[in-house]
Amino acid sequence: MIARFFIGLGFALAASVANAGSTFATDDYTLPFYDPAVSLSYGVDRDPRACYQLDWTGTLWHDCNLHYGRVYDGHTGADYPMSLGSPVAAARDGAVVDLFEGYGTQQFGTYGNYVLVSHADGRRTLYYHLAQNGALVSVGQAVHAGQGIASSGCSGQCYGAHLHFEMRKSTSGSWVPVDPIFEQRYTTNPGRVPFLAAYIRESNAGTEVIERYSTVTHWVEFKNTGGRTWRNNTGVGRILLGTWNPAQHSSPFKAADWGSTWFATNVDQSAVGPDGIGRFTFGLHADVTPGSYDEDFNLLANSLRWFDYARLGSFHVPIYVITNTSQ
């Protein structure tokens, strides 16, 4: 019934329906890469019969053909086009339970190089066709959602570099591939990349005029357009605002409330879920020669990854320092 209900619906509508009434959690699975422009090549075939294909929209194809963007017959995962060497990320917190990285780009085996991650909800995720010696983790290592775990490749059976992402759960003692969309385990359908933000507004969108030796308070708001909840009270993955161009440069405008010479602030709220608005409040202290300046900032998932600065809105603060008239 649910499959028929989805016929003809687009991604967005299917998402809202699929998530309705589920045990949806804001820290659930995200897409295993960072570029939101990557689109699905082929999804899971949910019909076990040969030459019957039930795709993620609920459409049933009675043939053996490839249906781009939808499905191909007998497919057990989701294929995403990714150029060689692109970063592959863990879809959720977990632990690496197996990996192989010895294959070249010839056709060896079916899946080629892979990383297998076990998650606390009992599911496992697999990442296939990875680059030779492309694993960035080791067996037994704990990984965080959004953490880079490997480089993509084209090992195993592969017609065009891509990532085969597969979710499995244990059923009657064996691991069975399932469709993440219909497992209702994505934060959105068909998922979001883990870390992404869009500029909304700031306390002063013009030039901050600051008297020399004084401090002004500035805040900026970003929408969480990624799949991970932003938090300010965790170690790895905490979302913070830091200097950019170049990354982590010592800022001449570091104020007393900064965490370091480049780390301006954490996100103000304790949790900002997908589609929420996060505010970052920080001081700007002018201890420089009067004149015009421009300071760039970017968001960082602590110890994991900087956000895409361009997609963030290339946030920067023009600053004009004037002579302190009280001295």
């Binding site: 781009y68 497919h75 294929d79 780009t105 017609y159």
Partner: protein, 159 residues
């Protein structure tokens, strides 16, 4: 009076040759006149008569499939394959390699040859590249493993 037309028609049917000869003479005369005055419309056959030019009323056949542009890249080592009866298949080759080679070649060669790529859809044993055809339509290049080789097929778009 009502009988006269029937009599005349019967006479024409009973003796067709003089009429045909007369018609031929008229056509020859018209042809000569058109050549003199330079009006090609006078020699154009009626639209309901068979013509050497294919028309929309002709049933689809392999001869009606779209032609491959001369600038279309062909993968080195590719051997032309016999086309199926399916008129949506435009061209087909085989190469004696499996894996990503054919996909990789066309993913870069198509845009270099001026064909905008509309979508890349790699997978395990086959891949599709959708690209803009010269007439504004979208065509597909399908590379699929067949035995120890790869079949490359150019065809019109399909879901």
């Amino acid at each position: 009076m009502p009988d006269r037309p029937n009599v005349r028609r019967a006479a024409r049917l009973a003796h067709p040759w003089p009429a045909l000869l007369l018609l031929g003479a008229v056509l020859l005369l018209l042809g000569a006149c058109s050549a003199l005055v330079g009006d090609p419309s006078l020699t154009a056959p009626p639209s309901d008569l068979p013509s050497a030019t294919p028309s929309a009323t002709v049933a689809p056949s392999p001869d009606t499939r779209p032609g491959l542009p001369g600038s279309f890249p062909v993968m080195p080592g590719a051997v032309a394959a016999e086309l199926p009866a399916d008129p949506t298949v435009i061209a087909s080759w085989t190469v004696d390699r499996v894996g990503s080679a054919a996909y990789d070649f066309y993913a870069s060669a198509l845009p270099r040859a001026g064909f905008r790529v509309a979508g890349l859809y790699p997978a395990e044993r086959a891949a599709i590249i959708r690209f803009d055809a010269p007439d504004g339509e979208i065509w597909q290049l399908l590379a699929e493993q067949v035995g120890d080789g790869t079949r490359i097929t150019v065809r019109t778009d399909r879901p």
